[in-house]
Symmetry: C2
Subunit: 695 residues, 2 copies
């Protein structure tokens, strides 16, 4: 890629960004769009424009609001996870900022063996030490945020429950429920409240979903009928539908009657199935509730039976995050699944290299000519060539990054992880390896990879030499990539053009009822599973190119600065958190930043080697100190992110404890019914043992 | 080593064994020796000869007694650790036994590429599968033994206490004691009993030891005086001593007067120092006592503060095992010490190779001639040569094995480990690496090691080739070694010749008082730190040589069989356990046996390679399955050996709980005094907070 196409792409991206920001300023003022630009506020029952008149409002007021918002605001609105994400963005920006005095120096301009290389060596130390300091401070801060949230005097159901898996077979003289209750009552005679046996809800869930579907359709049909009354004849047009496949074939029936009939048919069936499920489909897993946070916290960390594969206890996920189907998977099956998934992901990472190699082949003019000579006439048109050269590789790269997440989330779920946030973390780690191995290293080493693969296999040290030799050549590719990411990516993020268009289309042609409209604009969460690894890739890129192509530094600062600003707006006004993991994502972010730092240090070592600088080995202690730093942080901080600290759990509650409400929070919707609480059945929910003082 | 010298050494070893067994039969019947052969029984207040008349007794009755003793007998007399050790010996014997049908086949006699090699491949699978089965059964059994002991209805102090380390600095408005008490009372309001702050006892211990020394000397002087009254004049001879260095120089004084004076001088000094220690020398560590086993067990496993390096809690060691000086070492200092010790041990292992190379050089006649040509005239005398060839290498090897343990125990203690049994386990692991790396691999690869070191470094796979080529040549060396170990080693063990001689000498020339005599015969414990790794070395040797030199199999069976028999006798009648770790040694034994099995499989792979057997890679899945087996066992069983299971701790107690007695058990002897329990002081022991219901 030559310099002119690089500038072209930068300018175009910037223009797109400006257009999108102006669009946002204009669109967000229209009341009809408030559900797209302020859904979070609407859902909390607030005025979207925060008091002021939306029309007369300064179109850039959102910047002031974002800048003046406090961390506590973010926690209140979007939870600890979002606050932790901003800590990460600030750390990213600050660590890029330490390079600022270096902007005008490029190591590429320094002669081989020059003593001026010492300055770069000192800089590498300086950058690393600043990074350690920032990371340490951030870890401590996040730890405090987590502690503050967990010691909150509000009652949170998951702090009173533990998840018990791998329960051994039921003894002959007991029911499953009795088995669990007697086991926990003997260990926790004073604080055990009640247990909830996990049931196989496949059948009941199917009926429930069917019933809910008919209910929705009935509301829709009634709305259509009511509207038709207003618009056409006073008696209205009764909506009809066909009963066959997808409503396309079969008998034509009156919708309202048909759905009502179906509902009254399914309701007793659901109740019967609920009872059958609770009585007969009990599984070897349970949620156990305690009347004390400390007991629940310490039970979640303790070994209960002598074998780890029986009565395996861990902290309960939030009710909304529980992956019910994964709860009944046995310990060694979970382990096996995990390793199989790891192998699959490793293979996928390896074979993704092949398309990536083609992406990389696009990035140089010579390769284009060489491989696609039959297209030569087209490329001779300068304008087309410039556009293609400027965008194609980066767009291909971004498309590649967008294809994976769903696959990775699916694979992570297959591992048997019991909570949604954990699945997203697991997917995010996998995604990071993808981006770094296939994206960063793949693109960098690029076309030469397969040729040099044998060399690397024989002598792993040569990877460093290859990196040192090929990295500088790819600098502009990544500069353009980062610029595209933040200008176009954040422009789209802020303006929400696509959700807006989709919403308006849906509202016009599909949505009839209130519920359907709400579904059409409901914003979802920040989507950490993809957002975090992409940011991590930018951290890796900016760190690794910082010294050899210092132009990337302002791009890095802009990426994290703009990201912070725009996502602050989105977190406060748009997205709605779908779970709260109390900052459990942080240790992953921390490790990945450190991994990027080590990669940076190794790259520098390689690059110093390429410059024939004899004192390059002085960087080796730095790499070792990074590993020690990682070890110390992990040892000191990590355990609190894996399990609750008793000190934190022992803080007093202000609310009165309604154990029944906590228990209810965990009943899956398909089992919720007034008749379920039927004490005549020895079922999975019944209150056989009213042991706790609050029972 | 030629065949005749091999037979010579075998026969001599057997003769020594027979002589020692006869000596034992004769000596153990003499009443004067009962303190050497039955100290365990004497200490338990039992009749050493179990009812029968010692003179008329069958000299081989001990064999019947050992064979008929049950596992429960061993647990009662010698604790769970000893029972676990017998499980290990049985497993060793049984796994050697599986080879028995192979005795007459030696792989050395099978031609290259022969299809008869298939039989050996199948055998390797068979041996491995039997080993898995035996190990699995043994792990399960040991786990049950541990659980049974821990759920015992007897009160055991360590089950009610936890060890708290890394306590943060004292806040200004509190004492250390108040800080600890308020912290734990807020987390465990119902079950917290009391805390004991760890103090720096260096000074007080010095005074205490000095005082105890004088007390002993006073008793000794009084005994001498009383005896002199009987033997010489009726007024007796008052013993005297010199006050200077080692009692050799200085003023001559009357011993009884002098020591009495010293005692009355030191007693108030000790009391003052005790008070000062308890008040002013409190450290950042404590023992915390709970009124419930379950709480103590779950507290030991739970994270208390958000940072792991503050309020670090673990299960308390037995009172008799506590290493007080190690309790106050901070988390990261412990970690650092540990890694430094690991590096030191690794270096020591490497440099021990040098003397071992010489040992190995002795084992072949050619080398002897080559290196020690100046001694040629001596070696030409056939008798001397035969003796030297038969014993020198093995004796040198055994001496080498005996030199290390003290060093390794010392190093392990420096790691900052808080309990004696843990130190012995850590030393035992180190010792195992020594024996396998320096002993087994060192002797095997031997003189060629340094020459081939560069080859191995460049291509680690070549280690296998080298092992395959050199192993068969060393078979007789190890056969002799194993034979020496069990014939001479167990002969000495049973006959206790050395302790007997030392005891009689001491009693005759040194001991005056009853306490001194008891000290002279007090037997000590089984000494797992050295015994286990030596057995492990035999396991490794027999497994690795089983197919290429099947003669080693009966030796292995004999080693473990005889070991079982003789140590059963020793465990029941001689040794006194100095601690009880409830079988915590087992996971180490298990891992090492598995490591030996993997080494065996790799050796077979190498040996098949040397035989140019094309299907040798069929052994690779076996190696992988060993690793999976190790993983599964570790996952399933290990955690219970690291921390108590709540299910076990929740069993009810039969005794009434005397919390004060439990607390007292942990007061170090140098701080024991009637005046210590002085509530006017806010000291490390005082009962500021009588929180527990039993207070």
């Amino acid at each position: 890629m030559d310099f002119s196409s690089f500038v072209t792409s930068l300018i175009t991206a910037f223009v797109i960004f400006v257009v999108l920001v102006i669009l946002f300023a204009w669109l967000s003022r229209r009341p009809g769009n408030k559900v797209i630009y302020y859904p979070n506020r609407l859902l909390r029952g607030m005025d979207p424009f925060d008091g002021g008149n939306h029309a007369s409002r300064n179109p850039f007021a959102w910047i002031r609001e974002a800048l003046s918002s406090s961390e506590q605001d973010v926690i209140t609105v979007s939870g600890v996870d979002a606050a932790v994400y901003f800590v990460f963005l600030s750390t990213g920006r600050a660590s890029n900022g330490t390079f600022s005095h270096l902007e005008k120096l490029s190591m590429g301009n320094v002669a081989d063996k020059s003593s001026r290389l010492w300055a770069f060596l000192v800089t590498t130390y300086w950058v690393s030490i600043v990074a350690y300091y920032l990371l340490w401070k951030a870890y401590k801060h996040v730890s405090e945020l987590r502690a503050a949230a967990l010691m909150s005097p509000e009652v949170r159901a998951e702090q009173f429950a533990v998840l018990v898996r791998d329960i051994p077979p039921v003894p002959e003289d007991q029911t499953r429920k009795e088995q669990i209750d007697s086991y926990f009552k003997s260990i926790y005679p004073d604080t055990f409240y009640r247990s909830m046996v996990v049931t196989n809800n496949k059948e009941v869930n199917k009926i429930y979903e069917e019933l809910e579907g008919y209910k929705k359709k009935l509301v829709r049909a009634e709305t259509i009928y009511a509207e038709s009354k207003k618009t056409s004849k006073p008696e209205g047009v009764r909506p009809t539908n066909k009963t066959g496949f997808l409503g396309l074939i079969g008998e034509k029936v009156d919708s309202i009657e048909y759905y009502s009939e179906k509902i009254s048919e399914l309701t007793p069936k659901l109740e019967a199935e609920q009872k059958a499920t609770l009585r007969d489909k009990q599984q070897a897993a349970a949620l156990v509730f305690f009347t004390s946070r400390v007991t629940a916290a310490s039970a979640a960390q303790s070994l209960h039976a002598t074998m780890l594969d029986t009565w395996n206890v861990m902290d309960a996920p939030e009710p909304r995050q529980v992956i019910w189907t994964n709860l009944t998977i046995k310990l060694f099956e979970r382990q096996t699944r995990q390793y199989i998934i790891y192998i699959i992901v490793a293979l996928t990472i390896f074979f993704y290299m092949i398309p990536i190699t083609f992406v990389s082949a696009f990035t140089t003019l010579e390769n284009l000519k060489k491989y696609l000579s039959f297209l030569k006439p087209v490329y001779n048109i300068a304008a087309i060539r410039a556009v293609l050269e400027a965008y194609l590789p980066q767009i291909a790269f971004i498309v590649f990054l967008d294809l994976l997440p769903k696959l990775l989330l699916f694979l992570s779920k297959l591992e048997g992880i019991p909570s949604q946030s954990h699945i997203e973390r697991a997917a995010s780690v996998k995604f990071f390896y993808f981006t770094v191995v296939d994206g960063f290293i793949g693109v960098t080493v690029g076309g030469t990879f397969f040729a040099t693969f044998k060399t690397i296999e024989k002598d792993p040290n040569s990877l460093l030499t290859i990196l040192g030799a090929t990295l500088p050549g790819n600098a502009t590719f990544f500069l353009t990539f980062v610029a595209l990411e933040f200008f176009v990516g954040y422009g789209l993020e802020l303006s929400r053009i696509f959700p807006l268009i989709i919403f308006h289309l849906k509202r016009k042609y599909l949505c009839k009822t209130e519920a359907e409209v709400k579904e059409a604009w409901y914003p979802g969460d920040l989507g950490y599973a993809t957002r975090v690894p992409e940011d991590m890739l930018v951290v890796t890129i900016t760190l690794c190119y910082s010294v050899m192509a210092p132009l990337i530094i302002p791009f890095g600062v802009l990426y994290f600065g703009l990201g912070w600003l725009i996502l602050r707006n989105q977190a406060l006004k748009v997205y709605v958190p779908s779970y709260e993991s109390y900052g459990r994502m942080w240790p992953h972010m921390h490790s990945r930043i450190l991994a990027a730092l080590v990669l940076y240090q190794l790259t520098m070592l390689a690059y110093f080697g390429a410059k024939k600088f004899y004192y390059a080995p002085f960087l080796v202690p730095l790499v070792i100190s990074s590993l020690i730093f990682a070890y110390v942080c992990n040892k000191k901080f990590y355990r609190f992110f894996r399990c609750p600290a008793l000190e934190v759990a022992s803080h007093e509650l202000k609310e009165t404890l309604h154990m029944e409400r906590i228990f209810r929070a965990y009943v899956p919707p398909c089992l919720c019914s007034e008749k379920v609480e039927d004490d005549r059945f020895e079922d999975a929910l019944s209150h056989v043992s009213r042991a706790g003082p609050f029972a």
